[in-house]
């Protein structure tokens, strides 16, 4: 049995902004296909920057990022095959739900009809069937976020990047979307990198938690989470869940404490 190839490995990746701020310092991270990774840390620890680096929206100042499994396009650039969910739903207000979800396919040159058929499938999978023709402003915050998730998944990306996607939602909606995300992930087994500042959310969702520390942003500790195959309300109320929240919480405060010394 040959060892599995990683999807992405980062070695010594740093990011310094033009202002001189060192946002990330020496990040080593190997991401395997199907991983659910949470980047957990206080604001200013560079977790969003790390996500943007992986997305290719910004480039590292030092270090290497390798995509062993990715193909390259005509210009020699890595085809990252990414879906991205922003902190805000980031929908086009002038387009209805189905046009929003079909956008990535149409940008890739798919015919409108085919794009909309596939968009409709994903709209149904995020429980928004019947809202295809609705405009974003007619939807609640949670529904908008579902549209955003459908749009990110419609291209069936290898890797789904989420930047505190549920931070602005109320707790009930957040719990429900957490459950739905875990379910989608269990079915599809795409790779997820999920940025959050919530210990509870990270333990509930992720298999691997990267606890990050600020100034400069770095990975202080990795915590592996053990959870039943089916995560659900039972897991959320179990002693194992509470215990792991405690572990992660301690890791987070020691990472923060280190920063103050």
């Amino acid at each position: 049995m040959s060892p599995r190839r990683p999807l992405l490995s980062l070695t010594g990746v740093s990011k310094r902004y033009a202002t001189g701020t060192l946002a990330l310092d020496g990040i080593d991270l190997t991401i395997m296909p199907g991983d659910f990774i949470a980047l957990l840390g206080p604001s200013g620890c560079g977790k969003s920057t790390l996500l943007r680096l992986i997305a290719g929206l910004t480039s590292p100042s030092a270090g290497t990022m390798e995509w062993p499994m990715a193909t390259h396009d005509a210009t020699g650039e890595v085809e990252r095959d990414i879906g991205f969910v922003f902190q805000e739903p980031t929908l086009m207000p002038w387009a209805n739900v189905i046009r929003n979800v079909a956008l990535p396919l149409e940008l890739a040159g798919k015919k409108r009809r085919e794009a909309e058929e596939r968009a409709a499938e994903w709209i149904a999978r995020v429980d928004l069937k019947g809202f295809e023709k609705a405009y974003p402003r007619a939807l609640s915050g949670g529904m908008r976020m579902r549209v955003s998730i459908a749009r990110a998944l419609v291209t069936r990306p290898r890797i789904l990047l989420m930047d505190e996607p549920f931070a602005a939602l109320d707790e009930i909606t957040r719990f429900r979307l957490n459950n739905d995300l875990v379910q989608l992930w269990a079915q599809e087994r795409f790779t997820v990198i999920f940025v959050t500042h919530s210990v509870f959310e990270s333990v509930y969702l992720a298999e691997r938690i990267m606890v990050m520390a600020p100034r400069p942003g770095r990975i202080a500790e990795e915590v592996a989470i053990t959870a039943p195959a089916e995560r659900g309300e039972e897991f959320r109320t179990s002693p194992e869940y509470a215990a792991q929240c405690r572990t992660v919480s301690l890791a987070l405060s020691s990472a923060m404490g280190g920063a103050h010394e």
Binding site: D73, F84, T90, A95, N96, Y135, R137
Partner: protein
């Protein structure tokens, strides 16, 4: 009259909204016109000083033949100027959005064009351009052009930065970014500019006609106003003025309607109070 006075105390609940928006200004206009007519009659002001609204209305009907020809001419210049302003303003704004160098080198000249009083340069334009209709068109265009250009430029630059990132992530082409992101984002701004420019195009056309002062049958409303002034036909002057104002109001209303139809599904500015979340 009796109906509206009865309805007024019940205002508040059911009069709010559309009814209030139509009724209140109409009532005010009727009061104003009534007061005007009364004053003219009671104080026996001669029509060559100040004609009453009824006399103006009668003149408008009587002279409709010649006034309507002038109205059409003014309308034609206004709409052509507005169309050219809209197209050129949009195209230039798109160029500005594509290239910073073009924007930096051209924008100051657009500003110069905007701040130079049209009355001051209209005589020059009329001297330089042989065809009087074209020189009028140019004057109206100069006045109407800038709001569309500057508004659309702001609109193109105000696209959501996360959406821009999203398009970048999916490797959208320049053309896709323009047509699917920048132009829709700029639409409300463009329409706001168009509404300002609609009125300005009319003003530009009238001012240019005043300066040109061309006579004959093929002249616009401004010349009718001048002509009536010389001949001391003040009711006719007012009738032409009424047509100018009505045209301005009609342009504003139709552009507002267009804005509403294009934006009602998504933009805050085109929403009724009731369907805001």
């Amino acid at each position: 009259m009796s109906e509206s006075t009865k309805a007024t105390p019940a205002a508040g609940s059911f009069l709010e909204g559309t009814w209030l928006r139509i009724l209140a200004p109409t009532l005010l206009a009727l009061l104003f016109l009534g007061g005007w007519e009364m004053m003219v009659r009671v104080r026996e002001i001669p029509p060559y000083i100040l004609p009453g609204p009824i006399a103006i209305w009668q003149t408008l009907l009587r002279d409709w033949g010649s006034l309507s020809v002038s109205l059409l001419i003014t309308l034609k210049i206004t709409f052509m100027a507005l169309s050219v302003a809209a197209i050129l303003g949009l195209v230039l704004a798109i160029l500005f959005a594509q290239s910073r160098i073009i924007e930096l080198s051209l924008f100051p000249f657009a500003v110069i064009l905007q701040v130079t009083p049209i009355v001051a340069i209209a005589p020059l334009i009329i001297i330089w351009v042989d065809d009087i209709a074209i020189s009028l068109l140019i004057c109206a265009w100069i006045v109407a052009f800038f709001p569309i250009l500057s508004n659309t430029t702001v609109g193109l630059n105000s696209a959501d930065h996360n959406l821009k990132d999203l398009f970048k992530l999916y490797r959208a082409s320049r053309w896709q970014v323009l047509t699917r992101l920048l132009l829709p984002s700029a639409l409300p701004y463009f329409l706001a500019g168009l509404r300002i420019s609609g009125g300005l195009a009319l003003i530009g056309a009238i001012v240019a006609e005043f300066v040109a002062g061309t006579g004959g049958s093929a002249s616009g409303l401004a010349y009718r106003i001048l002509e009536a002034g010389y001949q001391l036909q003040i009711p006719r002057m007012f009738a032409a003025l009424v047509l100018v104002s009505t045209t301005g109001i009609a342009i504003f209303l139709s552009l507002s309607l267009l804005t509403h139809l294009l934006l009602r599904h998504w933009h805050e500015s085109a929403m009724g109070r009731g369907d805001r979340r």
